[in-house]
């Protein structure tokens, strides 16, 4: 009886170890790009729309009051427009605060917008803008349809800069904001 218990325990243990090894190996193989990160510049192979260096489509945008207008309206009479994609999370708040308090006053002649892509209606976007006290400090757009998100392949903390000619000058993660500063400086 004692030996059969021991054999049973050993078999269970062996099975567990094999499951762990197989799962771990599968994980490593499945996520090769993080296990062995690549430093090669592959931007030339992007097929995604709305990337830096291309001319933006004149998309329809909706502000938090429900007004709809062509995106190019934001470019008239200014050096360009900055769109920051927010889902109202902690890091989004830190970035939004940096844009409002430091970048916007330092780089004038641009329009600045937060793009709320998680609220389905403009009224929800306005509620959130009021709750976080952004109303009046920066333009706030509602992207409930996901058209901006989809076109720019954006997500949480993506920032897009479009110059006055409609050319996309930047489309990447906000990171520490230094890249946004240098792009705005160059325009």
């Amino acid at each position: 009886m004692y030996s059969s218990k021991l054999v049973f325990k050993k078999n269970i243990l062996k099975s567990f170890v094999w499951i762990m090894i197989i799962t771990f190996t599968f994980q490593c193989a499945n996520n090769f790009s993080d296990i062995f990160p690549d430093s090669t510049d592959k931007t030339g192979s992007n097929s995604a729309s709305g990337q830096a260096g291309t001319i933006s489509t004149n998309l329809q945008v909706t502000d938090m009051y429900g007004n709809q207008y062509p995106l190019y309206n934001d470019l008239a009479g200014v050096k360009g427009s900055v769109y920051y994609f927010t889902m109202w999370c902690s890091i989004c708040m830190a970035h939004s605060g940096e844009i409002i308090n430091n970048i916007k006053p330092s780089y004038t002649g641009f329009n600045y917008f937060l793009v709320d892509y998680v609220s389905s209606t403009p009224s929800q976007t306005r509620q959130l803008s009021d709750y976080f006290a952004f109303t009046g400090l920066i333009g706030v757009l509602n992207d409930g349809s996901g058209s901006l998100l989809s076109y720019f392949h954006a997500t949480m903390s993506s920032v897009v800069v479009i110059d006055s000619t409609g050319r996309i000058q930047m489309n990447e993660d906000f990171k520490d904001g230094s890249r946004l500063r240098s792009v705005l400086q160059s325009l």
Binding site: L13, C28, N31, M93, V118, G144, S158
Partner: protein, 324 residues
Amino acid sequence: MINLKIIIRFTLVIGLFFSGSSIYAASCCGGGAAGALILPKFSRVMVEGSFQYEKYNGFYGSDRAYYEDPPASDLNQIRLKAAIALRVSDRFQMALSVPYVWNKNYYSGMNLNSSGMGDSIVSATYETFDDVKCVYKVRTLQDLMPAIYISLVNTIPTGISPYSNVDNSFKITGRGFYQTLISTLIDKTVYPYNFSINGGYGVHYGRPVNREYGVYKKPYEKKLGNRWNLGASAGYTLFMENMDLVTLVVSYDYINEAGARIDGVVDHLADFYKSSIGISLSYTTSDKNRIFKIGYTANPSYAEWGSNSPVTSIISAGVSNVFK
């Protein structure tokens, strides 16, 4: 014909993979108190299954204020972990933990669900003692000596990160960076009381990034900030008539991570800290071969308890089985 008892036992152990908890280890005495996967003294192997359900309840802003999540949003993550600890020598042990993660999010009428492997953990632990440090009565100064564990905990980026081939942030299950954490656990049990303190300092390794959320970008170098943590716990153990143990533990933990470095420049917008408080209940069989544990940990929804980080609550459950 297979013995019914064997089937029940097999079911119990298989259940360990699919319903267990991660957190819980055993102390050197074989009880359940510590915060990392640690094999009890004089045991050869321990396997552990763990389940965690984490619910997001808003966040701490960089102004340290507490903010609620947007209305009509519901963010949750479920983690299932399998872990094993092996004794390498009298004082050395190693462990591997492999998680699977489900993200279950609801935002403005949309269900955003995804799943994938999480980041794995490989650890090596050195025990500074040769005998069990749990005592029933303090008779000499020697009886006050705690069990001290020093661990090297390595995170392997096997999860789905923002730099994997993934199209949005709701699908993330890992951070994408290797990390090494040096951690110490000091644990003392004078039955029926248990006290422990733990601390750690972790370093992330830099990596090149050439892709964000599935789209290639101009490559840059990124290194997450160093992190440190401190924690303390206190527990009380109740002896059952059959000498099984029931232990109640309350704990406090603090974690702080500095801002990431991007091309060598520190991103102070990314640094964060937060505190959490927890309570757990464990049941240890009298032979100390099996430990069942449930727990609840939460970041308080009040200002000053954190900065720049999500506020969450975690319900966990798990089973550990020790092979001597």
